[in-house]
């Protein structure tokens, strides 16, 4: 965890910190259209590889890196802001 970088425009953002979960890179995967799930390089279900989900991260974030929490709330009727 890093430290705050001084005064920022938005008060809350002063308290943004480095996070090992946010930086964690996830094992490689690809989407298997036939099985409708992500698979690892051996074709096995990818989610089973994330055994350390309890440790480093609660799963992937929308940008593919580790999640810092339950960032799945979609504050709109449709996710048109999440391009």
């Amino acid at each position: 965890m890093g430290v705050s970088r001084g005064v920022q425009e938005v008060y809350l953002l002063r308290f943004a910190v480095e996070s090992s979960a946010a930086a964690a890179s996830l094992p490689p995967w690809r989407y298997d259209f036939g099985r409708q799930i992500a698979v690892d390089t051996d074709g096995q279900p990818w989610y089973r590889q994330l055994v350390d989900m309890t440790m480093g991260t609660t799963g992937p974030s929308p940008d593919g890196t580790g999640s810092t929490g339950n960032e799945e709330w979609t504050p709109d009727y449709m996710p048109d802001e999440r391009a």
């Binding site: 965890m1 890093g2 005064v7 920022q8 425009e9 938005v10 008060y11 809350l12 953002l13 002063r14 308290f15 943004a16 910190v17 480095e18 996070s19 979960a21 946010a22 930086a23 995967w29 989407y31 259209f33 409708q36 799930i37 992500a38 279900p45 990818w46 989610y47 994330l50 055994v51 989900m53 309890t54 440790m55 480093g56 991260t57 609660t58 799963g59 992937p60 974030s61 929308p62 940008d63 593919g64 890196t65 999640s67 810092t68 929490g69 339950n70 960032e71 799945e72 709330w73 979609t74 504050p75 709109d76 009727y77 449709m78 996710p79 048109d80 802001e81 999440r82 391009a83």
Partner: protein, 324 residues
């Protein structure tokens, strides 16, 4: 009878649920809204009992009338041709939203877990107000863009207060993602409130005598809903404030929840018409349960892996069962 799953391709929580659905022998159609219009195709016309027709992706097709439930997780935005101008893009996006969204959202007798319009109702302040109205204990909370109001609030609370996001718990800065954990404000930080006026901010009474966090995952929206409660014990100072700051230090334990909390949670779910929710509580040393929030599309694999609570199976059963 079939189940529609709407989520992005990278969603391991959904993968586990899909496998459980396949084991139960039901037809599953998974798609990301980001596939529309290039590789997800809608063909629906208005019949006597709502929109009838098909959704297609590749060689897979689903009949809207056969749908028993929809698992709505975290689909990405529609993806349009890069050749569209900004004006065209805005138009196309709105048409897609109203067209595809309007047909799907209105399907009769389909169980939504959860309906996106219900999820859109769940702004954090709305949740806290609803929680209070159904009798759950909610920490004192201030939402403001006035620095002076923060000082007044801090005085009235008379103890430490936290600042935390109303929405996403992280921000992209200079190509990196930084986390926005719950932050207990020091006196120095309270003395310099510049930047509060830039937007809405949420301040809250800090529950300092925290015994542990509680993640309560609820499957089903009725009286027979299943509640999976896990106490999250922090093993470090950082995790004691916000458990996400130090995952390796955490330990989990299956616990029971008091009847009045369970009743409040059921009433909360009825209020928002949701049939799945991940609730975060703080439990203090006197056993009081303070509601922090409910995530209507929350992650639960980390709880399931740590405790063995059969959340995925319960969710798959709910989707197979469909609307009550």
């Amino acid at each position: 009878m079939s189940v529609l799953v709407l989520s992005e391709e990278c969603d391991p929580t959904t993968d586990a649920v899909i496998e459980a659905l396949v084991e139960r022998g039901v037809e599953v159609f998974r798609a990301d809204l980001g596939w529309f219009p290039t590789s997800l195709h809608l063909d629906a016309d208005l019949g006597s009992s709502g929109w009838a027709g098909t959704l297609r992706a590749g060689n897979r097709e689903i009949t809207l009338g056969d749908l028993r439930s929809v698992f709505y997780r975290r689909p990405t935005a529609f993806t349009f041709s890069p050749d569209l101008s900004n004006q065209e893009l805005r138009h196309a996006r709105m048409e897609a939203k109203l067209g595809l969204g309007g047909c799907l959202w209105s399907l009769p007798e389909v169980l939504w877990v959860n309906h996106p319009a219900r999820q859109a109702d769940m702004y954090k302040p709305t949740q806290l107000a609803a929680g209070k109205a159904v009798g759950l204990l909610v920490p004192r909370t201030l939402v403001t863009n006035r620095p002076g109001a923060v000082l007044r609030f801090a005085r009235e609370v008379g103890g430490p207060i936290v600042v935390k996001p109303l929405g996403y718990a992280s921000i992209h800065e200079e190509g990196r993602r930084r986390a926005l954990y719950t932050h207990v404000l020091t006196d120095d930080e309270l003395a310099d409130l510049r930047g509060v006026e830039t937007t809405a901010h949420l301040f809250q009474q800090y529950i300092g005598d925290k015994a542990h966090g509680l993640r309560l995952t609820v499957v089903g929206g009725g009286e027979d809903s299943q509640m999976f409660a896990a106490a999250i014990h922090a093993g470090s100072a950082a995790a004691a404030v916000d458990f996400r700051a130090d995952y390796p230090s955490l330990t989990y334990r299956v616990v029971d929840i008091p009847d009045d909390v369970a009743a409040g949670v059921r009433a909360f779910m009825r209020h928002f018409s949701i049939s799945f929710g991940c609730f975060d509580f703080c439990v203090d040393t006197t056993g009081r349960h303070w509601l922090l929030e409910c995530n209507s599309a929350g992650q639960f694999q980390f709880v399931e892996q740590a405790t063995g609570l059969p959340i995925t199976a319960a969710l798959a059963d709910l989707l197979v069962k469909g609307a009550p």
